[in-house]
């Protein structure tokens, strides 16, 4: 491996540890927020928001999705569409109950 490539990886390593620190802080925030006993719908939104940020950090930096080939993005875009369908279609059959409950 040439020196340039090795320097490049060293920069990546610094980023990995910064992401690690951020993930730890967000984990503490996630647990901390749960002790505030917010109304359920607010707690769900806050928890999902933090989890989405944490998940995105893992996907972007540890799984290198911040600089990946187009083919991978296409595969993931297709997956995201099917994921949304799988989650939202069954949910839509219960919209009346959800509105009543929350």
């Amino acid at each position: 491996m040439d020196a340039h490539a090795s320097d490049d990886i060293s920069k990546h390593v610094k980023t990995y540890f910064m992401v690690f620190g951020t993930l730890m802080v967000l984990t503490i925030v996630t647990v901390g927020v749960s002790y505030l006993h917010l109304p359920v719908h607010v707690a769900i939104l806050v928890a999902l928001f933090i989890a989405t940020i944490k998940g995105s950090l893992v996907a972007l930096f540890f799984m290198h999705l911040n600089h990946e080939r187009k083919m991978i993005y296409w595969v993931l875009a297709l997956t995201a569409v099917f994921f949304a369908v799988l989650l939202l279609v069954p949910l839509s059959t219960n919209l009346d109950k959800i509105v009543q409950k929350y």
Binding site: S6, L23, S34, V40, R69
Partner: protein, 196 residues
């Protein structure tokens, strides 16, 4: 027969076959967990009462497990980075720590399960515990799968480093993608089951 495009990039996809293969596998895994997330939402909105996770489950243990899995993701990516920097002994150390952290996760999960079962709070007790055991059980199976693959790559599989270093580095990257996915699933499972 030699497997094609393990090291060189396939011109039409711009990727090695292994990398595209693992992403397609992960896409199918997303759908597997999505089916369970969808079931969780339907069960929750369809129930007359639903407990707060923190009333039934051990939050400190799960929080420690979250820290363990995130740390193992860092050591996994460091194992790959060590190979990229031509440092095999550091690779072995980082992958070894990843495996140990995965085992620690399972040990904590075992104590959590044992605590529930000892008090008769098994999956048969309530819909909440049924979906809890199903989702965390499936996740634990993925952890076991990761330990087996990473254990092979740490032990006998590591011989490839001397004969085909680039191919071996690609293998570690691919095993890492799977491991980070397992971490990512837990990042959503933890608040959903334990904190809401």
């Amino acid at each position: 027969m030699e497997i094609p495009y393990t090291v060189e990039i396939r011109p039409d996809t711009g990727l090695t076959n292994g990398k595209l293969g693992v992403w397609l596998f992960l896409a199918s895994e997303v759908m597997l967990f999505a089916a369970l997330f969808s079931s969780y939402i339907l069960l929750r909105v369809g129930s007359t009462e639903w407990p707060h996770g923190f009333q039934e489950l051990n939050v400190p243990m799960a929080a420690i497990n979250t820290v363990i899995l995130i740390t193992s993701s860092v050591t996994m990516v460091m194992a790959w980075a060590s190979l990229k920097m031509n440092n095999f002994s550091k690779f072995r150390m980082h992958l070894g720590i990843t495996i140990l952290l995965a085992v620690a996760f399972l040990v904590i999960k075992y104590f959590e399960y044992a605590e529930h079962l000892a008090t008769g709070m098994g999956p048969w007790h309530s819909t909440f515990l049924a979906i809890y055991f199903t989702m965390t059980g499936l996740h634990a199976l993925h952890i076991i799968g990761g330990i087996i693959v990473n254990g092979y790559l740490w032990g006998p599989g590591a011989k490839m480093w001397t004969s085909e270093p680039v191919r071996f580095t690609n293998r570690i990257e691919i095993a890492g993608l799977y491991w980070h996915f397992v971490d990512l699933v837990w990042i959503f499972l933890f608040p959903m089951l334990y904190l809401l």
